[in-house]
Every structure is written in structure tokens, then in C-alpha cells.
């Protein structure tokens, strides 16, 4: 397989013009931590973004950082740390900013920090046929034309190569505590109601982990509120969140999304309808509706999981291992096709990787 490793956005544009002329199919690759997400697709070459790793502008007082999309998340973390701020994606340090955005992965802290799409305010993208297009603005608010960056977020590299982004960042909370208690979904639900303003309530089969952030007096009070519901067994200051992600040991991980109130139904209804080995380990973000579910294979179990997710109004794409996204048809399929035809007219960007065969 060919490898294209451009130095800057002009080289990306040139590479894509060439690819379009030659009908050469490409997979965009950043940190390669999440390339399993997507339908299987055949490509002729990989385009690596990792040399586009420059800092373009960062003014802490503006709470905006502008970076090239191949910058590693770990590097951005370090830069923002010095400004007392963070971009709360929580992806592995070697993941790239562009990859996080293109995969629209969920941060375990989404309850408080929101989805990644809300942090992207300006973007430069190279389309499939090699045009450099910018949208948005480097201001915290802007209603100025169509937000192409929304379209690119979660597009899995099928509409264009994200080359640069302006990110809305947030002050790093003065106090950050991770807390663990015994229990499962039910205890988690009670904590979600009882603890004021938690940053995350992550329920697993036997434990619940909470992330509490804010002023020191505030997190103090949140820990007390937690303890009243279930005795706190571990508290760490500054520590990682979550303590561990047991589902990551599984061969296949689905990242299910269902309406938050349906999580319990999604995870606890007896899984006797599953043909294969039962559900492995899982972690559910209460109040958000995301559940990471570990499976031993993508055979029968995955289909059963997807059927259940669909019945509850959700989806269950795989983010690790085989299994793809699932066969849910995206609403407005014609609109999707026209968008793909406009932005990638020769169909060189990972054809077939996206939902709906796009």
C-alpha cells in the first residue's frame, strides 16, 4: 500500500488533486488509535496527517487554540496546561486532534464538557478534489454561513482531510477528583440525582466511578453527597478518569448510543437472546446515553446488541475490532449522497467507509 505523508496543507491539497485525477482511493490516518471505526473499505494508499502538527495560535485569555490537525492530543494537552486550560476530549496522547474530530469519539466527561462538535469553531479542510476550504470563525460565537465543520465532525475522513482547526478550550478546573463506589446502574442512577453537577457518572457492572470538578469547596461537597448515597471507597486528586476501562480488554468494543433513560434497559435486560458468549464488561455514561460494551467477537452478539439499540432509538457502531458501523440508514440519504458527490466527486476518500455505504 502506498503512503502519502504531506508536510503541510498545500501538499495535502496537491495529493488529493492527484488522487482525484488518478482515481486513487485514500484512507486518512492520524494516530491510528481509532481506525477500526467504520465499514470495511478498500483503499490504494494511506494519507498520514502527523506532520501537520504545528501550533498556529494560542491566546489563553481568548480560550481558543488554533492547531494543525495532525497535532497529537498529548502535545496539545501540554500546550494548554501552561495556559491553565484543557481541550476535554480525553483521547489517548498519541491520537491526533483531527482524528478525534473526524471520529467524533465521546469523552468520558461528556456529561459536563459536552460533545466534541461543540468545541470546534473554525476549520480548514481539503476536499476530495483538493480544494482548501475554511468555515467558521475564531470567535466563541458565529452565525456566519453554513458550518461545514459540523459536517466534517464525525465524517470518518470521507468528505475531506481536516488540516487545521480552532478549538474552544476551557479553564482547567481548580479541583479534579475521581471517586469510586461499589454498585452498578441503580446506584449510579441515584448518584446522578443526588450529586450536584457531576462531570461524569460512569456505571460498570460492579462499581460506579464519578468525576467531580470545580472549586475545591465544591468538589468537597460533591464527595460528601456521593458518600451519603454509597460509601466512597477510593478518592484521587488529579488522577486519571476513569481509573480503568475494563471493556477495553475485549476483542470487540461497541460504542452504543441510546437515550439516557434507556441505558438500564439496554444493559440489564437478560441477554438470553444472545446466541454467543454473554456480554463482557461494559461502562455506561449515565445522563449521557453512551455505553462501551466489550464483546468476545462480532458474530451473533453484536447483531443482537444492535437490534436492541435500534429498538430503543439508538445505534451501536464498533470502535475496536471487526463489525463496522451497522446497517442503519442515515436520514436524508439523498442529501448525504449529494454532499459526498460535492466534496469528493471522484469518490477517493475511503469509499464505503461511512454510514449508508457512503
Amino acid at each position: 500500500m502506498d503512503l502519502i505523508h504531506p508536510m503541510d496543507k498545500l501538499e495535502v491539497a496537491k495529493a488529493l488533486r492527484q488522487a482525484t485525477a488518478d482515481r486513487k482511493r485514500l484512507l486518512v490516518v492520524g494516530g491510528r488509535t481509532h481506525v477500526d471505526k467504520g465499514e470495511p473499505c478498500e483503499v490504494d494508499a494511506e494519507l498520514w496527517t502527523t506532520q501537520l502538527d504545528g501550533l498556529v495560535a494560542y491566546e489563553p485569555a481568548e480560550m481558543i487554540a488554533v492547531v494543525e490537525a495532525g497535532m497529537r492530543v498529548g502535545e496539545l494537552d501540554r500546550i494548554l496546561w501552561d495556559g491553565g486550560q484543557e481541550w476535554p476530549c480525553d483521547a489517548p496522547p498519541r491520537a491526533t486532534v483531527g482524528g478525534v474530530i473526524a471520529a467524533a469519539a465521546t469523552s468520558p466527561r461528556r456529561l459536563r464538557v459536552g460533545p466534541i462538535r461543540d468545541t470546534v469553531i473554525e476549520m480548514e479542510v481539503v476536499t476530495g478534489d483538493g480544494r482548501l476550504v475554511r468555515s467558521g470563525a475564531r470567535t466563541v460565537k458565529s452565525v456566519t454561513g453554513y458550518d461545514l465543520h459540523k459536517l466534517m465532525t464525525g465524517s470518518l475522513g470521507t468528505l475531506g482531510v481536516i488540516v487545521q482547526v480552532a478549538l474552544k478550550v476551557r479553564p482547567r478546573p481548580r479541583s479534579r477528583r475521581s471517586v469510586r463506589v461499589a454498585g452498578g446502574l441503580e446506584v449510579g442512577r441515584r448518584l446522578l440525582d443526588a450529586v450536584p453537577g457531576p462531570t461524569a457518572v460512569l456505571a460498570m457492572p460492579e462499581v460506579v466511578e464519578l468525576r467531580l470538578e470545580g472549586w475545591p469547596e465544591e468538589t468537597e461537597r460533591q464527595v460528601e453527597a456521593t458518600d451519603r448515597v454509597a460509601p466512597v471507597t477510593v478518592v484521587t486528586e488529579e488522577g486519571a478518569f476513569p481509573f480503568e476501562r475494563p471493556w477495553e480488554a475485549s476483542a470487540v468494543i461497541a460504542e452504543a448510543a441510546v437515550p439516557p433513560s434507556r441505558l438500564a434497559e439496554f444493559l440489564t435486560r437478560p441477554f438470553h437472546d444472545l446466541p454467543g458468549p454473554h456480554l463482557g464488561s461494559w461502562g455506561a455514561l449515565l445522563g449521557v446515553g453512551i455505553a462501551w460494551v466489550g464483546l468476545s467477537s462480532s458474530d451473533g452478539d453484536l447483531e443482537a446488541l444492535r437490534t436492541r439499540a435500534r429498538a430503543l432509538g439508538g445505534i451501536a457502531p464498533v470502535v475496536k475490532g471487526p463489525g463496522g458501523l451497522g446497517n442503519d440508514v442515515p436520514p436524508g440519504l439523498d442529501v448525504h449522497r449529494r454532499l459526498k458527490a460535492s466534496f469528493d466527486p471522484a469518490g477517493v476518500l475511503a469509499p464505503g467507509r461511512f454510514w449508508g455505504g457512503i
Binding site: A137, S142, G154, P196, G214, P259, S261, G326, V335, A341
Partner: protein
């Protein structure tokens, strides 16, 4: 030429005769929104149901009528101002709150529901709908969605797009789709995200699933008063730079303070050069800590007095002054023209000075009341357009203000949108290629270019080079505004 009579008959059949208007008074009434420009239309329809809206789209498609969606008509960019033989589809009779579901922190509403009605309906359950435009008593959720509306409390809570989980949309070909989901992720591209802020150019929103925000346990509202505008503006960036993001930071200058005070009697200091209305919320401990930080920043910049609202009544009064400010400036002169640029917060001091300078040079009264925490300026030009030459001066000053903001790294609009009034400024911010790509997004939803033509994109923006198969020429033709159709 569209057969308007035939279209009217078909609409009357589908919606009932009372729900279709074409008399001159109605056509004049719906020829504009709250912006300066005035247009014209052929028909006005008032759907009650999704099926009614589908019928409107189908009739318009059959007769090649442009379609202009309209909520409450409070828009300030001319987004709902029709041009030519348009069918205006007013969604204000679709005004039911369909479902409030606290366990999912969401509500389903029809597009005509008024922003404040939604907030009031969920308040007894301990929730609020966070985006709170100053026009919230009258503007609709459908309009909010399509302008990606903001409000004072969007500083900490985010603008409309952060609070809309899904939208039900009737596309120009009459099909109905749901973009987004009650679940946190949905299959496909984020068409929900593209639709929000699209100013009625992609389809008609017939339902929205909005996120509800729990009321904060504690709130504190403060009025900080300054003897110099620059100290007031500098306090804003200094609060944020200190790592504190209050729920709201609103600024009012002297002219606004005086006008608002004589209207609301909120006890604003009428001798101040500028005031900041700051609100912090959260747990009581956080409110305490944030207040301290705000007060320290203000003292560093020579604040004269700090008034803290003692109770809910005083808090409401302080906000009443702010929220009625636009109405209150009617005392200054009969007409106003409002801008909505956003600049980096660190540029507030310089840009404000520039705005006063430009207004002075054009001999126009300018007042400022705006979302300072977001850097979202609202320079308000007051004038009497019956005086010859005034309008020209206003338009010239406007253009200079917009250029000043963009040259300082700003954006054309923070929340009101581009509509008709700002579309010709778009090339200040975007290249031809950028605008071409935007035109492609529009064409993907509306290949025939009938949805709210003339809005958002300037006349030259083409998707053509992006290999769109059809419709682009028609779309282009529709983009040039007929001569003489507006002031």
C-alpha cells in the same frame, strides 16, 4: 412565471381558506421582519400540522414558488424577509409543547413555541431552556434553531446548537426527515448541526428536541459600574483570563443605561460611562468563589460600585433593564440599525473605541448593549430615516463597523445571522472557494434553489465547480435580487 392563483387554490384546499392569505395588508405585514429591509411576497400560509407544511412544500414545488419560512419575525438580519413571488410559511400556529421528559432532560416542541413559554413550562420541574435571547417573550424555537440564537446565558451554557438534540424537517421536495436523535449520537453526517443556523434555507423545521438544563442551586447577579468604557471592557477580558466563566457578562454603555433606566426603573447608575451585569451560578461554594474573582477583576480596573441583587425581585429588576434595552432606545430616535459582530475579547477595548469614532464621524448616535463575555458586540445606530441623507450615513457607518470587526479577527454575526442584510459582507470573511463549498451544502438540501433564496450567500457564490449535477443555474438565477425590491 409562477401561477400564484393556482397555488393559492391548492393551498386553500389543503390548509383551509382561513389559513392562506393573499390580501394586500397581509402581504405587506409579512414583507419584512425586524430588520431594515423590506421585500414582498405572493402568499402567506399558516400550517397547523406537519402534513400542512408538506402540502406547502409540494404546492410550492409544483408552481416553482420560492418558500420563505417564518417564525415570529423578530429576526434582525432580514432572514424572514421574502423577495418576489414567495410563499411565506408562518409556523406560529404550530405552538404545542409535545412532550417534556425530565428523565432524559429533553423536550419535544413544535417550531412555533415561544422561547419564554418553553422556559416557563419546564421551570416547575427544576429545569430551564438555556438559550435566552433578549427577544425571548416573542421569538420562536423554530426561529432560534434557524438563527442558532444566543442570549446572555450562552456564555457559560453555549448557544442554541448545544441545546438542540434533533430536528424534524420538511425538505424542499416534501420529504420529512429527523436529523439528530434523542440518543447522543446518530448515524450519518451531522445534518442537525448544519441545519441549525441555516436561516430557513435548507428546509422547514417542524419539530425540535431540545435539551433541558437543571436550574443551578444558587445564583448571584451583580451590577458593576465604571466611569470609563475601556475599564469596563477590560474587566471582561480580565475575568475570563482569570479562568472564571460566569453564566452571563453583559455590558451597557451610558446611552443604554439612561434609556433603560427611564423605562425599567432598575436603579441603574445614570452617571456611569458603562456597567457590567454579571451573573454567576452553581453550588453556593462556587458562586462565592466566582463572585470574589469577579469583584477582584473589577477592582483592578477601578470599578466605582458593586451592587449585588439581594433577592429574586432585585435580580429580575436588574435583568429587566437589560432585556428591555432595545425597546427603550426607541426614545432616542424612531429607527435603529443593529449590528452583531463578534470580536476576540481582548479586542473589545479597541473595537469599541473604533465604533464610537466611526459613529461620531458619521454624526450618528450609537449605543452599545451586548454580550460582552462572548465578545459579541451590538452597536445600535439610532436615526430618523425621514431626514434626507441619514440612511446613507447609517449604511456607510455600518459597513465601516463591520470591516473594523472583521479586520480585528472578528465574525460578521454572533447570533442574528446573515440573512439579506449581511450577505454581501460574506466575502470579507470567506474566499470564493469557501463560499462555493457553502453553496454546495445548500444545493445538497435544495437542488432547485427555492428555499429562502437571496439569503446568506452573496450573489456570486456557486457550487458549480464542485460538480453538482443539476439545479445550480436555477439556484443562481434565484440568487440575484430583482432591482428595486427593497430600499
Amino acid at each position: 412565471m409562477a401561477d400564484v392563483d393556482a397555488a393559492r387554490r391548492e393551498l386553500e384546499e389543503a390548509l383551509g381558506t382561513t389559513e392562506v392569505l393573499s390580501d394586500p395588508l397581509a402581504l405587506t405585514l409579512y414583507a419584512r421582519d425586524a430588520a431594515m429591509v423590506e421585500g414582498g411576497c405572493a402568499l402567506v400560509a399558516f400550517p397547523h400540522t406537519v402534513e400542512d407544511v408538506v402540502a406547502c412544500m409540494q404546492v410550492a414545488a409544483r408552481h416553482a414558488l420560492p418558500v420563505v419560512p417564518r417564525g415570529s419575525g423578530t429576526g434582525l438580519a432580514g432572514g424572514a424577509t421574502p423577495i418576489g413571488d414567495a410563499l411565506v410559511v408562518v409556523t406560529s400556529k404550530m405552538d404545542r409543547i409535545l412532550e417534556v421528559r425530565p428523565e432524559d432532560r429533553l423536550a419535544w416542541v413544535e417550531p412555533g413555541v415561544l422561547n419564554l413559554d418553553l422556559a416557563n413550562a419546564v421551570a416547575p420541574l427544576g429545569f430551564t431552556y438555556a438559550p435566552d435571547p433578549s427577544s425571548q417573550q416573542t421569538c420562536s424555537i423554530g426561529g432560534n434553531v434557524n438563527t442558532n440564537a444566543g442570549g446572555p446565558h450562552c456564555l457559560a451554557y453555549g448557544v442554541t446548537s448545544s441545546h438542540v438534540l434533533a430536528v424534524d424537517v420538511v425538505l424542499p421536495d416534501g420529504t420529512v426527515e429527523r436529523f439528530g436523535s434523542e440518543a447522543p449520537e446518530a448515524p450519518g453526517y451531522d445534518l442537525r448541526g448544519i441545519l441549525i443556523g441555516s436561516e430557513g434555507t435548507l428546509g422547514i423545521v417542524v419539530g425540535a428536541c431540545v435539551r433541558l438544563t437543571p436550574e443551578p442551586p444558587a445564583v448571584r447577579t451583580m451590577l458593576l459600574d465604571f466611569s470609563a468604557v475601556k475599564d469596563c471592557a477590560a474587566t471582561v477580558s480580565s475575568i475570563i483570563a482569570g479562568g472564571v466563566v460566569p453564566a452571563a457578562v453583559e455590558m451597557m454603555d451610558h446611552g443604554i443605561i439612561v434609556a433603560a433606566e427611564s423605562f425599567a426603573h432598575a436603579g441603574y447608575p445614570t452617571d456611569a460611562a458603562a456597567v457590567l451585569l454579571v451573573e454567576v451560578d452553581g453550588l453556593p461554594e462556587a458562586v462565592e468563589a466566582q463572585s470574589r474573582a469577579v469583584e477582584n477583576a473589577a477592582r483592578d480596573h477601578g470599578v466605582r460600585t458593586i451592587r449585588v441583587a439581594a433577592d429574586d425581585a432585585e435580580r429580575a429588576l436588574l435583568w429587566k433593564g437589560r432585556k428591555s434595552a432595545f425597546g427603550a432606545v426607541a426614545q432616542i430616535a424612531p429607527h435603529y440599525h443593529l449590528h452583531d459582530c463578534v470580536v476576540p475579547r481582548s479586542k473589545l477595548v479597541d473595537v469599541l473605541a473604533g465604533v464610537y469614532e466611526i459613529a461620531g464621524r458619521h454624526d450618528i448616535i450609537v449605543t452599545n448593549v451586548f454580550h460582552a463575555g462572548d465578545g459579541n458586540l451590538h452597536p445600535l445606530l439610532s436615526f430618523d430615516r425621514r431626514i434626507p441623507g441619514t440612511l446613507e450615513r447609517v449604511l456607510s457607518a455600518s459597513e465601516q463597523i463591520v470591516r473594523l470587526c472583521v479586520n480585528n479577527g472578528g465574525s460578521l454575526s454572533g447570533e442574528h445571522g446573515i440573512g439579506l442584510e449581511k450577505r454581501d459582507f460574506m466575502p470579507l470573511m470567506f474566499s470564493e472557494v469557501d463560499l462555493g463549498a457553502q453553496a454546495c451544502v445548500r444545493a445538497a438540501f435544495d437542488p432547485e434553489g427555492r428555499m429562502n433564496p437571496h439569503k446568506v450567500l452573496p450573489a456570486g457564490a456557486r457550487c458549480g465547480d464542485f460538480a453538482m449535477a443539476r439545479g445550480t443555474d436555477a439556484a443562481q438565477a434565484a440568487q440575484s435580487i430583482p432591482e428595486g425590491s427593497w430600499i
